[in-house]
């Protein structure tokens, strides 16, 4: 008899925000192991807030949030969630190499004073190879293109050998060719059994990977289910709507659910 594992994320009636102002209210959301889920929606819909709540970067002000079956407040295995932030600029002011930045991701797995060992360095080298940056491993991150920098952050998250990758706008600001490279990298991870939670404006080349879409609008879930057969056009209508509340009750998308 096998017991199915607890969902990676289970959120019910959750409000998440900063200070005492929730940016999203009363959200139900779940992510199962092995799934590829994308959060879609326009700017300000609450996609990033939801993700930041899961990562412990924004406060849960009401409702419940469990990670791997453990209430978020008691969850101590943060290394199981690999975070790939949306960054268009280098954060630290001092130059650092791809290997240095990726190595910092390994620390999530280490005790406070534990030194990096040969095994850690092998993992770092392997994940740099996974994102195709082996030849640039000792280059300064600041000298890389936007798409390459995004891959550095993916490698940093992978260095902790997480169960889930949480990516905020992985393709934003990345040109078409580099989006294809990113999609290929992610496909490799999905094939190897990774769970992915992606935030996106639009699916683009990631579309074939996605198993479930959660469409957010005004801090609420407007649609959750499989990708719509019409593809991006169906979601695209949401972006450009002049009166966002006109189709309350599922944006008219419910009729198309399988």
């Amino acid at each position: 008899m096998s017991v199915s594992p607890a969902p990676v994320v289970r959120m019910s009636g959750a409000s998440i925000g900063y200070g005492d102002r929730p940016a999203i209210r009363d959200i139900d959301f779940s992510l199962d192991a092995g799934q590829v889920v994308v959060l879609l929606g326009p700017n300000g819909a609450g996609k990033s807030t939801l993700v930041r709540g899961i990562l412990g970067l924004a406060q849960l002000t009401a409702g419940r949030l469990e990670l791997f079956g453990v209430p978020a407040a008691q969850f101590r295995q943060r290394h199981r969630l690999g975070y790939v932030p949306q960054r268009n600029t280098i954060v630290g002011a001092v130059p650092s190499t791809v290997r240095e930045v990726v190595s910092s991701g390994r620390l999530a797995r280490k005790r406070p004073f534990a030194p990096m060992r040969a095994a850690d360095r092998r993992v770092v080298a392997a994940v740099i190879d996974t994102v195709g940056l082996t030849e640039r491993a000792d280059a300064s991150v600041a000298k890389l293109s936007g798409g390459q920098q995004r891959r550095v952050y993916i490698a940093r998250a992978l260095a902790a050998e997480p169960d889930v990758l949480v990516m905020d706008e992985p393709t934003a600001g990345v040109d078409a060719a580099n989006q294809e490279i990113l999609a290929a990298t992610l496909k490799q991870l999905v094939t190897a059994g990774s769970t992915l939670l992606l935030v996106a404006h639009e699916l683009g080349p990631l579309e074939p990977l996605v198993q479930r879409v959660v469409l957010m609008r005004n801090g609420r879930v407007a649609y959750a289910g499989p990708p719509l057969p019409d593809g991006e056009g169906a979601y695209g209508a949401v972006h450009h709507h002049a009166e966002p509340d006109r189709h309350r009750g599922g944006l008219g998308l419910t009729g198309r659910l399988p």
Binding site: P85, G92, V94, S104, L107
Partner: protein, 320 residues
Amino acid sequence: MSLSLLHYSFMQRALLAALLVGLTAPSVGVYIVQRRLALIGDGMGHIALAGVALGVLTTGRPVLTALVAAVAGAVVIELVRASGRTSGDVVLAIMFYGGIAAGVVIISRAPGGTPANLNSYLFGAITTTSRADLAVFALLAALVLTVTVGLAPRLFAVSNDEEYARAAGLPVLAINLLLAVITAATVVISMRVVGLLLISALMVVPVATGQLLVGSFRNTLLLSVGIGLTVSVAGTVTSYYANTPSGATIALLAVVLFTITAAGTAIRARLRRDNHDEAEDHLHRHGPDCGHQGVAHDGHIDYIHDGHRHAVHGAHYDEH
């Protein structure tokens, strides 16, 4: 030039103090610069001044009271930062000015005290470093270096990307507090040598110089420590022979070295560019089927790449 200066025990102590500062200030400074908080050392120096004055007034041990004041100030600064209040920088400014004003007022109440007594702390008075001072500085330097070496990867991770470090479950507040405390310790080590008003110079300028020359964090750290040691010892020796104040001489040397390096790297980059902009390094080879849109431009093809136009030039790409 003879080494006659080494015959004087006060100069031996001065050079040892200079070595300790040259070693510790950039080791801590590299993380401060990385966090874009280059001026925080200045602020801690201001707060330490109130501690110095209290020490002069009460115990006659200004180094210890300065340490207490700087550490307390550092912890409060970090907690204010962590609370994320938008008024945080104003709170810091109030603490800094409060510190320096309290220092001047308190010292004026000390027996025979005048604000002039503070000069040796404001601008450094390396040759008055006592044996007891040196022992305290050595102890603090050992603490600072233990933390910066032992926790180097964590300090790097948190300073490089605090949000990521928090999401990864690293103890961000604890690491930031520790960095604040060792910054305060460095301020106290440095106050006899370069003075409280010039402390930031030795934390920041060697790092700013180092990062112009190398492309990795590790090499920036090593190079800036080398520069810190060089300018602090050379500045101390120069001040002995030229009869100039040590702290300002050291800081000035660091600034001159930075200026020469910055000018040199700018000229080198200019020559190498040969009047054109080289595109960022990339492995990708542009071609008809590469997926990047090609645009005809003056008899060649520019490829649109991440919003730039790249054109082949020898072994690299130019920005067009």
